[in-house]
Symmetry: D2
Subunit: 363 residues, 4 copies
């Protein structure tokens, strides 16, 4: 194996708090610990296909550990193996991976660090299979990646959602209302589960546990009878009724309309208002969950991930992702991380603890 002299780093998929802290740690560790140069690829795989790269020195990453977003930019689209090209008004998909490999060679890049979620790490894995030395860093605010205790960004998203629940509590209490908070989580309900427990919610609806609206109603009615005249309901955007369909799925099928908000939140609200006869209000947090300064937890995790990713590169752990196996960061094969989602276990300790403190999942 030839010695590593230059590393490239990119951020892929939806942005999340901590990306800059990872980038900073990659750059600082490369330069300080290993005397290795770093190149930043702009706008995720788009920049890799189109050869948009910038050198990253220590000055470029100074003072960014606490900043949200990513100084490299990112995009949800642009899979190099299935790259969308418009021709004569028609969209076709092409494999541009060779072009990427050529770009890496042109810049004499010896290894690639991909910071991303399931989608980006999948692409990273494909590049690895084509011989590119790749190391992944697990990122998703949804915490739905397998093989790691936590992804970075998740704690920040939970914190944002929890703060919203705290605020809804005071107004719910004052008005004897049902307050619904729709949070992110299309396939995994971690944000709803964690923020719901942290915020002292009364009902949590997650994709992994289909709910019956009647049971939710009964829970709220029972609270009323005990004199608790308000309820907080946290709904993951991917929650679904038992026997029913995921509202968000319908949405996806209906021509990808990300602007249409509060599908599930509104749906639950209407039904609860009808059966409980209580005033009900909905908040849809949306991308606020992706933004802002990362929590200290996420900054530390991000810094460790970034630093360990470079260690993994230098130790030749290609095709691996750095993963948190508390208290250690360890390299695990990308194949362990991708493919299977890390879902909320309906029988797991966390859901059981939530039920013990009186939270209903509508099941």
């Amino acid at each position: 194996m030839k010695p590593v002299k230059r590393i490239a780093v990119l951020t892929g998929g939806g942005d999340c708090p901590g990306l800059n802290a990872v980038i900073r740690a990659v750059v600082k560790t490369s330069i300080r610990r290993y005397n290795v140069e770093v190149v930043g690829i702009l706008n995720g795989f788009h920049g890799l296909v189109n050869d948009v790269m910038i050198p990253l020195n220590e000055e470029a990453v100074a003072g960014i550990v606490h900043r949200g977003g990513t100084i490299l930019g990112t995009t949800n689209r642009d899979n190099p193996f299935r790259y969308a090209v418009e021709q004569n008004g028609q969209l076709t998909f092409e494999d541009r991976s060779e072009q990427c490999i050529e770009n890496l060679r042109k810049h004499a890049i010896d290894a690639l660090v991909v910071i991303g979620g399931d989608g980006s790490l999948n692409i990273a894995h494909q590049f690895h299979e084509k011989g590119i030395p790749v190391v992944g860093v697990p990122k998703t605010i949804d915490n739905d990646l397998s093989a790691t205790d936590y992804t970075f960004g998740f704690d920040s998203a939970v914190t944002t959602a929890t703060e919203a629940i705290d605020k809804l509590h005071t107004t719910a209490e004052s008005h004897h209302r049902i307050m619904i908070l729709e949070v992110m989580g299309r396939y995994a309900g971690w944000i709803a589960l964690y923020s719901g427990v942290a915020g002292g919610a009364d009902v949590i609806l997650v994709p992994e546990i289909p709910y019956e609206i009647e049971k939710v109603c009964n829970h709220i009615r029972a609270r009323n009878e005990r004199g608790r005249k308000f309820s907080i309901v946290v709904v993951a955007e991917g929650a679904k009724e038992k026997g029913g369909q995921m509202v968000v799925q319908q949405r996806v099928e209906q021509s990808h309309d990300p602007i249409r908000l509060g599908g599930i939140g509104q749906d639950v609200a209407r039904k609860l208002e009808m059966c409980t006869q209580m005033e009900t209000r909905v908040t849809v947090l949306g991308h606020v969950q992706r933004g802002g300064s990362p929590t200290s937890f996420d900054r530390i995790l991000s810094t460790r991930y970034g630093s360990s990713a470079v260690d993994a590169v230098m130790a030749g752990y290609y095709g691996h992702m750095v993963a948190l196996r508390t208290p250690r960061i360890e390299p695990v094969p990308l194949t362990e991380a991708i493919g299977t989602l890390n879902n909320v276990d309906p029988e797991g300790q966390m859901v059981q603890a939530a039920k013990s403190v009186g939270i209903s999942f509508g099941d």
Copy 2:
């Protein structure tokens, strides 16, 4: 005028941060400064009609200065002069004001402090005209009350909205997107204006300045051409297109559907996405703006209002409201406060400053 021995206090209308700080100051000032007893009326005017009152001593209000909500509860409904009564499945409205006056007499209450917005202060004024010694405290997160520099709760709502814009900024920047934030403000655009300026928004749409979507598009396109590939748009729920109708008004007419979210936010989003061809996302803050711990500004204002309200009672300023005339709190006749809305002045300094720093109002 007979000496005041016992004061009653109630909170009316939508809840907002600072209510507890006012109640606490009313109680402490009454007891400590004037040796006057205080009674709390529960759930706004509902409790006055139905005679639900509790004594309030210092212990009852200890440690609540920083808590959101109201320990007395509140409601948007239940106007004693037009009290909704259901009879044989039919809703009729009755004047229950005499019953209220009787309840006040029964409890030997010498003066009433009403903490509320336009609606509640109107009712307070009506009671004053019927001879009840009333003093008002101006409350509304919308800051749309005349005769006072600021209402309490407004600074907290602006702070919550500004934090959301800060978070949207990082994700907008990373993704080259348009981010839309719909905030409260049905008739007055203060929250949108203040949070938009504080958050460094690019576009602010308020009810007082009808917008042309084409001008908003042009502004965003011009930003793109200067290399600023993202834009933040803050929309008051009552914003309306020039020549068009307020989306929220339609909503109100269409059978009061408060659950249906993001009317105007989604509308603007669709149109901007179409004309700019940029990805657009919407967040609807909703009642999160009403909740949470009040800012230090609001806690101070609330404490001063509560204390001054009792001073006003003791000095016989009945039919008055305490108002901030910076740096002083002064009693002003309720008639000055109610009836005319405090609206954003399209030619005022604040809007001009916003335009000077490059913000478009779509006009």
Copy 3:
């Protein structure tokens, strides 16, 4: 008067939240509204003496509205009219104002915007008297400048101190302790007064109201007897005992030792622990009060100040400072602002309201 084509801006004195928002507004307003160029002078008057300036365009100020500190740097020293020069190990003071004027001429600067507190605005005034077209912007976290309702930075400092009090409350309550918080305020007690009221403190000690430790003890003992087994004491660094000397003054005389912390805080703590026999703990907030993202209130005020400062320049209001006369920003002569401190009025409404809610000032 010749037309203004180029403005210079500098930040002087201690840094405070909102400086960047002012700079941004100066730059944007100059360029967008008046088509005027802006030059930034680095490190306060040091840069003016030594000719360290940079051009400021819109890109230079993009995305800084929410950032603490100042992109231009600042310093507490380097008065051009009394400039410290070291020669042969000896410190002498020289008048370098002509050199400054020469530097302004060299760069064809038509007007100077000085963002600063009493010291910097004094220097600004002296330059004005020498014929330099100067406009001031009032900045101090202490809020001790006359002629304006508020200086920017103050609300942020109060917010930071209030958050600290909120945190001390929970631990004080749990342990039955006296918690002392020493905050900034050498000559004016505004931060202590505002944060003390907002945080629900039990005792506030400010320079303007000399205290008797015995009265503070009695207040805390009386609380204990009522069952409130803890107390929060907020002390301005310049607070002084009746008949005694300001501890901070002694400190200043004793060779300027800013590292020596908690002079007054510790002094009060020892005495209270002795007379109440309660465990007592001290926190010294220090420069944390100067840092961090400005509150929305300060961002709005800063933006308005920056924008209005340019308006004042273009309208020829030289020798003036922009001032908040709620709700307007207006130019006032610098002479009104400097010289007399804006002190807490012991008989004013704010102190009276604080006393009404049970706060002792030890007087």
Copy 4:
């Protein structure tokens, strides 16, 4: 083993964020899951010796998940096995454990949940050895307890310290200063290490890694030469110079003077100011680190701990403590937790990552 019908719970030692969330989870889980009654013991072991107990039902713990402090009160003193008694002005120590056991019997308490740190868990262990069915919950903001991945309260303390560093950053940058933050950590440097990494500090001094002031100076000077004209230094209160003595130890020996602040912080400040010739400022966070609303991380951990503690009681895991073995909560013998401190490993991954991103430990 006789069936458990009634559990008692107490909080011991210094308070920390999350105590109320544990108490709430203990109460709710006991009542809802196991139909078991709960009794709260006031003010730690003091209440156990003196028989001060209150019944805890669901209403008593409603709405406290987000509140700092402990509704039960706590104290650092009052070890029942060595209980301080004043007699004729003389302090003697007596074993009052039998009295405690008698009190438990009198109230028909079948099991005791002790929420505390090393000291309290030691006492818990002693009671267990005397036959009392005890389960522990690991609490310390210092995170210095063995046998668990994290104690609750630690993440909140780190968050508070990180926020302070963020604020110091902006003022340090603007003024070209050294900013010193003294944080808690008498024997273990976790808060300093975590907050230093999260806040992007330049130097971290912890008890486990004795520092040489000359190396710290060199590090700061090297930064200056690279154009980074400011530095942030985080110092654990128990940090010590190589070859020297812990400043805090001297303090402890010198008659327990907890009021005397900033021992180590000031010491480091003076030396750095001397050798770097840079202005240096100190902040001493003090008990602010113990207060405030717990982070979402701590609320979740606390809720899980509280719920699991009751599970452990019901399953008969006496003499055990619930511990986080990510992602599970498991009972571990108290003997594993007490006695050995969980210290920062100078060769561990975390310190290495910190060094990789350029942080100096002065070693």
